[in-house]
């Protein structure tokens, strides 16, 4: 076979994981979870935009925090989902873990991108520039985006899913070990160059009136993350099914 692992090994590998159970379970979960996330986010928006007071120091721009902070949390949550799933995939050889890790990456990357842009929009009125190298968390978020893009690029270039899964799992684990080191180095780099702007990203201690919208938005985003993860996992399982069908089809074709 042209570069494919032997047919039976790939199919047995996936057969063992018995995706049928997951597909049945997830098909019942997707719709309700989707509804739940829509409701929670709607409520969150209501409190974030209308029912909460502006900040005495930042004024209305504090409302950007209600999208920026949850996005940042989901960005990191996404990467930890990938790291845990990759560990499970490598240690327990459970292919559904690979599927979960691969499906989580684009969602995490999207939230990281959102965190970066909303962070820049939030900082702009204060710092006068769209990007502030002085803010260690924003810089670390940018590096996290690189890790995500690298992970997805690795999946995109290796055709054979079993080999790609193992390589991506190793990358995700190495990435997760490196994240604290990167974060520390950026903090240290920050103290080296005393940043001109005094303004710190998180601003004043979070007033109680802000906790509700922030909490709702974070919960809504998390439920949305899980919903999208399930949908993308189902798509990935179908994609592998298509691949096996094509292999079988070529094998059964005339004069294989």
């Amino acid at each position: 076979m042209a570069g494919m692992s032997s047919l039976s090994a790939a199919q047995r590998f996936h057969a063992y994981a018995n995706p049928a159970r997951f597909m049945a379970l997830s098909s019942r979960l997707v719709a309700p979870l989707g509804m739940l996330s829509a409701l929670v986010i709607a409520a969150g928006l209501w409190f974030a935009l209308v029912a909460s007071p502006p900040d005495y120091q930042q004024g209305e721009t504090v409302r950007i925090m209600y999208v920026h902070v949850p996005s940042a949390w989901l960005a990191m949550f996404g990467y930890s989902v990938m790291a845990v799933a990759s560990a499970v995939a490598l240690i327990f050889r459970h292919p559904l873990a690979d599927v979960a890790a691969k499906s989580a990456a684009p969602i995490g990357a999207a939230f990281t991108f959102l965190a970066l842009v909303t962070g820049s929009l939030w900082g702009r009125p204060m710092w006068g520039t769209w990007w502030e190298w002085g803010d260690a968390r924003l810089v670390s978020m940018l590096i996290l985006l690189f890790l995500y893009l690298g992970y997805m690029a690795l999946w995109a270039t290796i055709e054979e899913p079993v080999r790609a899964a193992r390589a991506a799992a190793v990358l995700a684990l190495v990435g997760s070990i490196n994240l604290p080191v990167i974060r520390y180095s950026v903090d240290w780099w920050n103290t080296l160059h005393q940043p001109a702007s005094v303004f710190r990203m998180d601003g004043p201690t979070i007033a109680s009136s802000m906790l509700l919208p922030l909490g709702l938005m974070a919960l809504g985003f998390t439920v949305l993350f899980v919903t999208l993860l399930l949908v993308r996992m189902r798509a990935e399982i179908m994609r592998r099914r298509v691949r096996n069908l094509r292999l079988a089809r070529a094998a059964s074709g005339a004069g294989a």
């Binding site: 076979m1 042209a2 570069g3 494919m4 055709e159 094509r246 292999l247 089809r249 070529a250 094998a251 074709g253 005339a254 004069g255 294989a256």
Partner: protein
């Protein structure tokens, strides 16, 4: 498809690769409807001769001429060269591949679809090439010859990776080409059952 006075001839042909004299003072004449089978040990220059005819390899001394062909087009453009490599892209589907080569080499999209059916690849049309077996890839490469009518076929070990049924199909395919007044020059160990084929042994005289 081709005029009957088609003739491929070579006079005092020599080939030198990387300082090594592969063969020299080679002569042959092939008329329309005839086949020339190149035999000889590996490394005796069968592939090099085919590449020289196709214009893919410099001709050191001597010359090759196709008389009676299309004067405007170079010899290489009037020949199909089938080398060891199948020139297939794994991410492209079977149909996309044959359609590209048909369009690029001057054939038509309709002929491309027909060529797939001739090579029994019709039902694998939208399968990416990555999924094909070696035999199916070879047949897809051969389908290119059916899709674009060209008088001269230069085949380097065409039966490699083909199973019995496909070899039978290849023989009929080649016989039809000869019947249509085409010329075939093939390097092969397998008897292609071309009956009237002339044969040219390479490399033996130098050794003896």
């Amino acid at each position: 498809m081709t005029t009957s006075d088609l003739r491929l001839s070579a006079r005092d042909l020599a080939c030198e690769r990387g300082g090594r004299l592969v063969f020299e003072s080679l002569e042959f004449d092939v008329a329309a409807g005839e086949a020339l089978v190149l035999t000889g040990p590996n490394g005796s220059g069968k592939s090099s001769l085919l590449r020289q005819i196709a214009g893919l390899l410099e001709i050191g001394r001597g010359q090759i001429e196709l008389t009676g062909g299309d004067p405007e087009r170079a010899l290489g453009e009037q020949a199909h060269y089938l080398g060891h490599l199948d020139a297939l892209k794994p991410s492209m589907s079977v149909l996309e591949t044959i359609r590209f080569w048909a369009l690029y080499l001057g054939g038509s999209a309709a002929a491309a679809q027909a060529a797939l059916d001739d090579m029994a690849l019709g039902d694998l049309a939208d399968l990416p090439v990555a999924y094909l077996s070696a035999g199916q890839r070879r047949r897809l490469a051969l389908a290119r010859l059916a899709a674009v009518p060209r008088p001269l076929w230069l085949l380097d070990e065409p039966t490699v990776a083909l199973d019995q049924a496909s070899v039978g199909r290849l023989r009929a395919f080649m016989a039809a080409h000869l019947a249509g007044g085409g010329i075939i020059v093939a390097a092969t160990h397998l008897d292609l059952g071309l009956g009237t084929a002339k044969s040219l042994r390479l490399g033996a005289e130098e050794m003896a």
